[in-house]
Symmetry: C2
Subunit: 488 residues, 2 copies
Amino acid sequence: MSDEQELGITESKEYNTGEWYAEVVQKANLANYAPEGMSGFIVTRPRAYELWERIQGHLDSLFKDTGVQNAYFPLFIPESYLEREKDIVEGFDPEVAWVETAGNQELEERLAVRPTSESIITPYISQWVRSHRDLPLRVNQWASVVRWEATETKPFFRTKEFLWQEGHTAHATREDAWAETMRRLDQYEATYEDLLAMPVLRGAKPEHDKFPGADTTTTVEALMPDGKSVQGATSHYLGTSFAEAFDITYTDEDEESQIAHTTSWGLSWRAIGALIMTHSDDQGLVLPPAIAPEQIVVVPIWQADTKEEVLEYAEGITEDLEDAGVRVELDDRDERNPGFKFNEWELKGVPVRMEIGPNEADDGTATLVHRPDGESTEVDREDIAETVESHFDEVYAKLYAAAEENLAQNVREADSRADILGTIGQHGGYVKAPWCGDEDCETEIKDQIAAEIVMVPLDDDEAEIHHDDDCAICGDAAVETAYFAKSY
Amino acid sequence: MSDEQELGITESKEYNTGEWYAEVVQKANLANYAPEGMSGFIVTRPRAYELWERIQGHLDSLFKDTGVQNAYFPLFIPESYLEREKDIVEGFDPEVAWVETAGNQELEERLAVRPTSESIITPYISQWVRSHRDLPLRVNQWASVVRWEATETKPFFRTKEFLWQEGHTAHATREDAWAETMRRLDQYEATYEDLLAMPVLRGAKPEHDKFPGADTTTTVEALMPDGKSVQGATSHYLGTSFAEAFDITYTDEDEESQIAHTTSWGLSWRAIGALIMTHSDDQGLVLPPAIAPEQIVVVPIWQADTKEEVLEYAEGITEDLEDAGVRVELDDRDERNPGFKFNEWELKGVPVRMEIGPNEADDGTATLVHRPDGESTEVDREDIAETVESHFDEVYAKLYAAAEENLAQNVREADSRADILGTIGQHGGYVKAPWCGDEDCETEIKDQIAAEIVMVPLDDDEAEIHHDDDCAICGDAAVETAYFAKSY
Ligand SMILES: [Zn+2]
Ligand SMILES: [Zn+2]
């Protein structure tokens, strides 16, 4: 793709994070902006779509191993269905795109392009559940949704259309539904950690910020390099509110009618944005090996008289790696010099580079260079696939450790309003403070510094909860530990 | 799912194909109709979506092995983009759904919900192609599209929204683009044959029925049990018409600007409809083992005193099959008798049933029953996984042979207008006739019996082409062999 020819990131990640991010997305061929008249939309190019395919594959196999089935519901939702949901979940008022004319005719009822699908999925779940033997019932949909937000576009973080999955389940008991909520949160956490090399914080949203209609909204939060938090995925225990509204009842073993408990959970392509933002640097994209389109690039370095020997040696290694299932690219282009190739593959985020010159070919070795820190190692030709795999593990470990260190350094404590404001103002990141649970105390912080409570620890993590302290803002008795942060 | 309880197909495949099909779709839990106000849409339930996932997986891996990358383009297309395509491809006037209001505001330009995406994909391909080194460029999208046709809904065959893939490629030469067109047609044919156990006919659409703007439209056609032909997938060689209109040019090795040759190709969930229609029977769904959600169901048959022994034996076999990667379901429900279970799994299309009673447990055997014809075989417990796999092969072979025989018996020849009309009227299926190439001669047949020319053999299959005969309709010199058929 020829727009690769303008190589080189010019913006600084540290000083100009937003512009740097936009430049990486464009120059690493991840996305283009959509045509005029469609601001807020993006074209997801193959290299970014492949990241989404790997996230999808990873998560989908976790889902399927734990009883989830995929389905597909219509793209449109009749207005009356959305209205019905509004009645249940006060405050739910998505900014939607409407279809009023189709096939050259005005529709009797206008149709929303789905902003989320629970208002159409839940009535069908109600139809499909009759007996306790039908439970638990778990349905998931991978699709795009449209929310017509007017805010500035940031590819993968904020777009009017985005790709995501939404899971919806029904259960006989509260315990079973709660276990489901936690199971999905665990799977989101594992996906961030194992696939994306990103540590996350787990917690619940405060009462006033949970999903409308939910009993509990849980979240995984990831810290971005600019000190802001990203909500990485959410998992909701919905109690019986949706089941009551949509009549999801079942007959139990004694033939009595019972109301079901439901959950829902979702992860969007924002995960791609968080991934790019976390690991990449001023040379371009950085990717963990498990998700990288190419895991290793082999760059042969020759003069006219060594070309044949070096190339043959490089091809042999490439073949061995392919046979071992490694995603390897041999960059044998004649028209580019090695320095150009190094820069290009660094920009594209290939985790490990292998350099092969006549010395390596003669000695039966190869030089491996790690993308994140440029560390270079000479390795033996023998068992090359195993060696390369172990270097992938090292690169993963480096990326994870750096993100983990950044997170650990950016969770601070505060015990007064001034302290909260000052700490976030100076450092960003998370500030933990004892909190009375009252939204007004959050509002005071929000109004002054645009930080909010992104999570409180889950009840099962008792140690974190400030039962004995006073609220850092109002001085009343604290019942929670609030994590304040600026947020995407 | 409780609606399974109304078991049993009541309509006849032979005498009432349409109603029989609708009943199979509903009772095998494949799809529901969408809510009121959304006629023409369906809810794709997990058992049908799993069929789509396997078709997608099969085809996607063929695509990726041959250089295709997936991408994702916006759901909406500005009206001016669609208009631009209309200019190129006279006659292209999809019935679209329009978004005119979004986020509580009227849009400056209305947006079409994509009826197909070439009008937005092609301009980006134009942006991405600069040099001959960027070619071939191959992009594919898996997504849903919306076409507001007013005709009656038939799940998977005819719905206002459907799932499909569309591939778009650009090439330096005509030869390369034509090879691509044939490569995709081959892959569609292989998917029908290998995965769906359906033989297809390959051919080209007549000049007057090709995709607007295309140089050549190729097709795979499948014969349905009611004697009608289904267009199973299409692959278009677009020549340079799209490249000219959208300015897809590249600089060649001599730095001269050249126009690219492009192709496009697509397959929709109509493949699911054709699959259901072809193999299923008056007992319900029939599926080839490669695509079936459950490939085999183990039904233990016990009395109170033999239950423990039989169940333990059945569990051991189930485990062996699972370990070998077989998709197996052990139906150990207490509340259902074996006869009920047999009927239910027949309805659901499980290709092989294993019956295990006390005799089998004592003798170290098992009874295998083939879904398509009820053939029953006693087999040894030893090497059970291998044995079961070979029975899968047998079931596949039976399904394929039956469909192949049906196809072979339903391609007939005719050499006069009366003969064409009479043969299609009496038998349905395909009627081959020498044809002059003039649309008027097709119109005569169409007007009288609603049959059309669904394909002509491809040029590379010279033997099929009637160069020496006269057109069966007008008597002028024939230049093609036309395959007339009624069509979905
Ligand atoms: Zn307070
Ligand atoms: Zn004629």
